[in-house]
Symmetry: C2
Subunit: 467 residues, 2 copies
């Protein structure tokens, strides 16, 4: 292949057209900067991606929910006139534990309200007491990235599994906490044995279930948003162009792809951290950053979207929300848009369950998920209209889902290398955010912040030129 | 850049010209196969690399030692007529703990002989008792990669830091074990908080200090070996050619680089696991492998080679071997070749010490290392002839040193994805080996094994063609 002279004249090149990259590029363009967005995949949106089913129903293959304290995301939804509706939750919830099935009129996801499920008082209190101890530790962390805290090395020297083992007495209490790590919170998801106790505490601190991040869903889905943002980025986005190399000096960046190269005053790398680490930097990055990106794996989760002619579970008084230590599906949630009348269940197969499940044949995988849904919601679950697996760990340009997590020792030794720019290279992506990391809210925060930092650095650069 | 048709006619393409890649390519070529070795760097050898000093003294910037049970490496040395000499150890060893300096006539590196250092009996027994408990746990593991063992998940759910904290009573006992993790054994090196207890136990099982892997050094250094192997690979090695993409099907591999593309019946990816994960695979690899390579970071270590006109420490009866919780250098070892008369100290700055140290200026780094050596060996250490840092974590094509390690949870959940070939793609590199991983011995084992597996698969392929 022949070397061509790089294309020049760009103020900032954004690598990655996920939500944070799009927000960063849009904000810079609004300030009059010349921006180029380069994306490896054949589409924009990253983990904000939807699909139109033959029925006319939109489903979200990536994230889907919004909560009342996610102000940046709510503002974005208002700006684009996207309407929200309460995530369906009326009716009885289902818990399945060790083969016993409980219907109950309450809710617990760390925080609990209403009636407890029918497990014994000992089991219930064990789970709740452990949660309260965990919450207390989490509250005591400082705001922001946890490496700024004093005395955090001890918390970062244990796995969450060790803490759970030391702080629960019953198999139910142990499972419940593990379920929180594998299916719901603390970012990741990960097995408790994989994640730092400090990271789990930090996850609960800055993206707390107490703030109900799954309170609402969007008419038309979150997947419609990337193209709305991209309307302001006409002819600024190039798809199907993996980036290989970032050459850099104090005052320029050259981004080299399969197809060409591009020179700019600055760059924003808006990718999951481990993928940012896949690029070759010339000269090499500082050792802390080089090694940090070897140590932030993506979580392990497949999202499965199953649709039915109607939300049949409601006829039996069920909310369509179920958790349990079933063989495959630990969490399933009603995601039906009331305007369409279609029944939609979002089910999740995570971590060790995922690792076994993904070895099955396609028909075995479907059968196993539907069987678990039938245990939760009854036999009509076996007869869906559509069945869609979104296998994030097999997507090389994402590497997993929902988000990245820190194994033990990483925050306390290398956390300081996560977000600061290195010369003209800025980092974005929901994993960078110290509020709602792993959520759309974190992606927007990180995109906005990186754009501000680029603007600041370019204005400093102009000042130094004019001297 | 323009697409060219791939070059064809290769039986096997080896990506990476470190020791394992060279051994694999050599073995395949000896069997008459058409082999191509593609290397990203401007030199072969990987972590087997030497440098000629102005004095005529060779130093090893990577690995340097060999032990009596490393039979593959010993055979290789014999084949190339490389002579060995006992790693200098006569005289008093030095221990510095919490500012106190002890000279003693013994040795302890996990295993101990001779007199103990002058710490209190309580401290000494604490360290030794913990070591014995650790050794017992390690002995009880099955042979080979530890994920084959029963009941290993519990060991894989804790950090080594937690085990040390639970199994030592004195600061000395705690430090000694941490030192073993940071500077000597268990592969990595890593902080105890970063590594799985299971991985540390496995490291001691399959690369045991009891077998004295640092018993001997090589006249002329290990760095002379790659070019000796490469004599059999004339015109088969291409340098300065980073690989980007591996396209694959059941019966072929196409390796795409910055400069062109190459098609073969099979490929051996002979790189550290995290770097193998940096390549783009089309189609994507199974999720287990994709996510495993996000979870095997390289250790954190800078090797510093300091030379003196003579081994001055011997005049004071010192062996030139020192360990201690000094500010920067926890381990220093006499590496002087008796044939040259030059004094050579190999010093190591690892893990959290390294992460602070690498922020210093070049002169501060040198001053800090020499000051620590002066504490160990006396003030002549401040006046070296040469001072050479080999900063492995800043080398993008290695990513750290000495080798990779597993954080908690990785072996038990994903270990099965480490070494098996995926279609025509085979994996090599010392990290793959289940004997002496992280050592030259492991690299040779892995290179030999991958070559055998390629031969087997190609002979199967031919049989299926002839049917």
């Amino acid at each position: 292949m022949t070397e061509k002279a790089p294309k020049t004249g760009y103020d900032c090149i954004v690598v990655g057209a996920g939500l944070s990259g799009l927000i960063a590029a849009r904000n810079l363009k609004r300030e009059g900067l010349k921006v180029l967005v380069i994306e490896a995949q054949n589409r924009i949106g990253g983990r904000m991606v939807g699909k139109l089913l033959p029925s006319g129903q939109w489903i979200d293959q990536g994230g889907q929910w919004v909560g009342p304290t996610q102000h940046r995301f709510l503002n974005l939804l208002n700006e684009y006139h996207i309407k929200r509706f309460a995530s369906p939750s009326e009716g009885l919830k289902v818990l399945v534990f060790d083969g016993k099935r409980y219907e109950f009129n309450g809710f617990f996801q760390g925080y609990h309200e209403g009636d407890p499920p029918g497990v014994s008082d000992e089991e219930w209190n064990d789970a709740i007491n452990a949660w309260n101890r965990f919450k207390k530790l989490s509250d005591d962390l400082p705001q922001g990235h946890p490496h700024f805290g004093d005395d955090i090395e001890k918390l970062d020297s244990d796995t969450l599994a060790r803490w759970i083992s030391d702080n629960t007495k019953t198999p139910f209490g142990n499972w419940y906490f593990s379920y929180m790590c594998r299916a719901v919170g603390f970012s990741g998801p990960s097995e408790p044995k994989e994640v730092s106790l400090l990271h789990a505490l930090y996850g609960e601190k800055v993206a707390s279930q107490s703030e109900a991040p799954e309170a609402e869903l969007l008419h038309g889905g979150a997947g419609q948003i990337p193209s709305l943002i991209a309307k302001e980025l006409t002819s600024c986005i190039q798809l199907n162009e993996p980036v290989y190399t970032i050459k850099h000096a104090d005052d320029f960046v050259e981004v080299v792809t399969q197809k060409g190269s591009y020179k700019a005053h600055s760059a924003i790398i808006a990718m999951p951290p481990h993928l940012a680490g896949h690029l070759l930097y010339e000269p090499p990055l500082p050792a802390l950053r080089e090694q940090l990106t070897q140590r932030i794996p993506m979580g392990t989760c497949c999202k499965i979207l199953v649709t039915y002619p109607t939300p049949f579970w409601r006829e039996k008084g069920l909310a369509g929300i179920a958790i349990g230590n079933n063989k495959w599906v630990e969490l399933a949630a009603d995601s039906s848009d009331p305007e369409t009348g279609v029944g939609v269940i979002a089910a999740f197969v995570s971590c060790d369950r995922y690792r076994k499940w993904q070895n099955l044949s396609s028909s075995e995988r479907k059968e196993s998920v539907l069987s678990d849904l039938a245990i939760y919601f009854g036999s009509p679950a076996m007869s869906p209209t559509t069945y869609e697996e979104v296998n994030w760990p097999r997507n090389s340009y994402t590497g997993g889902g929902y988000t990245a997590y820190m194994p033990p020792g990483v925050w306390s030794s290398m956390g300081q290398a996560l977000s600061p720019a290195i010369g003209p290279i800025h980092w974005a992506g929901t994993e960078m955010s110290d509020v709602w990391p792993g959520f759309f809210e974190g992606a927007i925060n990180s995109g906005e912040l990186s754009a501000s930092n680029v603007l600041l650095s370019l204005s400093n650069l102009k000042q130094s030129y004019s001297k």
